[in-house]
């Protein structure tokens, strides 16, 4: 998608030059600003939503004003999504605290306004990102950064196009989801297609481009066992394909086939965190103790010990059911010698056991 106007000299060193470092520095600043802007937007939007609640609750509001309130609320919710998209753009997907899978429908809702803003004003956007697609095992921030880079490249490639068009379509292909991203811009010549994923390769003046967008995007997706490909068959414009592995716990069909978990944890705060982590890994909670046995039972050490010694009506443990205890380093290992356990003071580590 970079303009095929000024191919880089193939003899040029791939080491960054001073102007490239300057551009990187500028990018880092823009990233920080984007994060700050998203943060501030949220701090403004929430008070407005709260005030709209108060206005809407008044019994004396005339119908026309109520319609205005609803319209303002919709605008605010759009801003809120925009703030979420800015957060995704400014986050580091490699951070351990980042959620490592993406629900594509809500992700696209957040990112789409940013993509639209990046494209020329008269661009026709064709989109098909169905909410029923399975979750993918790639952080949402990585996906956001890749598609924003593709949108910005497309924007430049379509500058001279009378009727610019940008297309984002996602579909499942076996154990992957593929997102095709295409534009009707000037396209790429053979050499550009060949080299576009090389670090620091750019077809634009050095002071305008780092040449790192596509190579970084491909590296981000590859680090999640995905890939970023260029469609070499595409003649008019350019098409890139984001290849994304399906999240391991994601059910093939909505609500069916997903792995299950049962909780035997008394502390409501611990339970809330455990439910969050389990949900983020696509596990479905079982509240009953009947058959079939769940894939995981996570519980207080004593509760698990009692359940294991006397299964009865308290719950069913199957041959493949994995027990995980929640406890403390000074007591739990003594209660359950052969059961993996997590420290109640750092429950985020339980994600590593839910594989």
């Amino acid at each position: 998608m970079p303009d095929p106007i000024r191919p880089t000299d193939s003899t040029e060193s791939s080491a960054p030059h001073e102007h490239e470092l300057h551009a990187l520095h500028r990018l880092a600043m823009v990233g920080t600003l984007a994060g700050g802007l998203g943060h501030d937007l949220r701090n403004i939007v929430m008070p407005v939503l709260l005030r709209l609640d108060v206005l809407g609750a008044s019994p004396t509001i005339p119908p026309a004003a109520r319609a205005d309130i609803d319209a303002i609320r919709q605008s605010m919710l759009h801003l809120q999504r925009l703030a979420g998209g800015l957060r995704l753009l400014s986050s580091d997907p490699r951070e351990r605290s980042e959620i490592q899978y993406t629900r594509l429908g809500p992700w696209w809702d957040e990112v789409c306004p940013l993509v639209v803003d990046a494209l020329p004003a008269n661009t026709v956007l064709e989109q098909d990102v169905d909410a029923s697609l399975p979750d993918v095992a790639v952080p949402p921030s990585a996906l956001a950064q890749v598609i924003m880079n593709l949108a910005m490249n497309a924007s430049r490639a379509m500058q001279e196009v009378a009727r610019p068009a940008f297309r984002v379509t996602a579909h499942q292909a076996g154990a992957q989801v593929r997102i095709d991203v295409s534009d009707n811009g000037v396209g790429m010549d053979a050499e550009t297609r060949e080299r576009c994923f090389e670090p620091f390769f750019t077809t634009r003046p050095r002071e305008q481009s780092t040449g790192l967008g596509l190579s970084t995007g491909r590296a981000l997706l590859k680090s999640s066992n995905g890939d970023l490909l260029v469609d070499t068959q595409n003649v008019a414009g350019a098409t890139f394909v984001m290849v994304l592995p399906i999240h391991r716990s994601a059910p093939p069909v909505e609500g069916a086939g997903s792995r299950t978990v049962r909780f035997l944890v008394r502390d409501p705060r611990q339970l809330a965190v455990l439910r969050l982590v389990a949900r983020q890994r696509g596990l479905r909670e079982r509240s009953d103790g009947g058959p079939p046995p769940p894939d995981f039972i996570i519980g207080d050490a004593l509760a698990l010990a009692q359940l294991r010694d006397a299964p009865g009506p308290g719950g069913v443990i199957g041959a493949s059911t994995q027990l995980i205890a929640v406890g403390s380093p000074d007591r739990t290992p003594g209660v359950l010698t052969d059961t993996p356990w997590v420290d109640a003071r750092d429950l985020s580590s339980i994600g590593d056991l839910l594989r």
Binding site: D40, N43, R51, A272, L276
Partner: protein, 162 residues
């Protein structure tokens, strides 16, 4: 009256709001009403939140904290049902340290963490440290109000955007 804490709310008689905590139940559960203290530097949010809570059944009083470094002291004085604590406080104030102090000094007040940009590890850290709730400022306003009500009832809540 603490210099660090300003009160506003629907009751003028402070005696009406003083309810003794019994057997682990919060004061609010016992009385059927609840009070909220907000530790945040965003005046727009604080004012709007107070107005919004005023139309909630059972809401009794709202406290705002001017001096974050004395927030735990203010909470100990007022014993609010729920303390909303912004994790991103200005001036190098460590909100997690405030959380620790609140949990130690006012266990009957349940802390709900507010943040504009939630992170997975932060949720776990805060809840493990004793917070009862963790709410992103990116959720719809009714989810924030619902979270406060659920925490008052003794349920732990994590509300992040989908």
């Amino acid at each position: 009256m603490l210099a660090t804490c300003r009160r506003s709310g629907t009751f003028s008689d402070e005696g009406q709001r003083t309810v003794k905590t019994v057997s682990g139940a919060s004061a609010a559960e016992t009385a059927g009403s609840f009070t909220v203290m907000c530790i945040d530097d965003n005046e727009l949010l604080i004012d709007a939140l107070e107005r919004r809570l005023e139309i909630e059944t059972g809401f009794a009083a709202f406290y705002r904290v001017d001096d974050f470094r004395r927030a735990a002291e203010a909470a100990q004085e007022r014993k609010p049902s729920v303390v909303l604590l912004d994790i991103d406080l200005p001036g190098g104030v460590d909100a997690m340290a405030i959380l620790d102090e609140l949990v130690a000094r006012t266990p009957e007040s349940r802390v709900v963490i507010l943040t504009a940009f939630p992170g997975g590890a932060l949720v776990s850290r805060a809840m493990s440290a004793g917070a009862w709730g963790f709410v992103s400022k990116g959720v719809a306003s009714d989810r924030l109000i619902d979270a406060i009500r659920l925490v008052v009832r003794g349920e732990a809540v994590i509300e992040l955007e989908d």
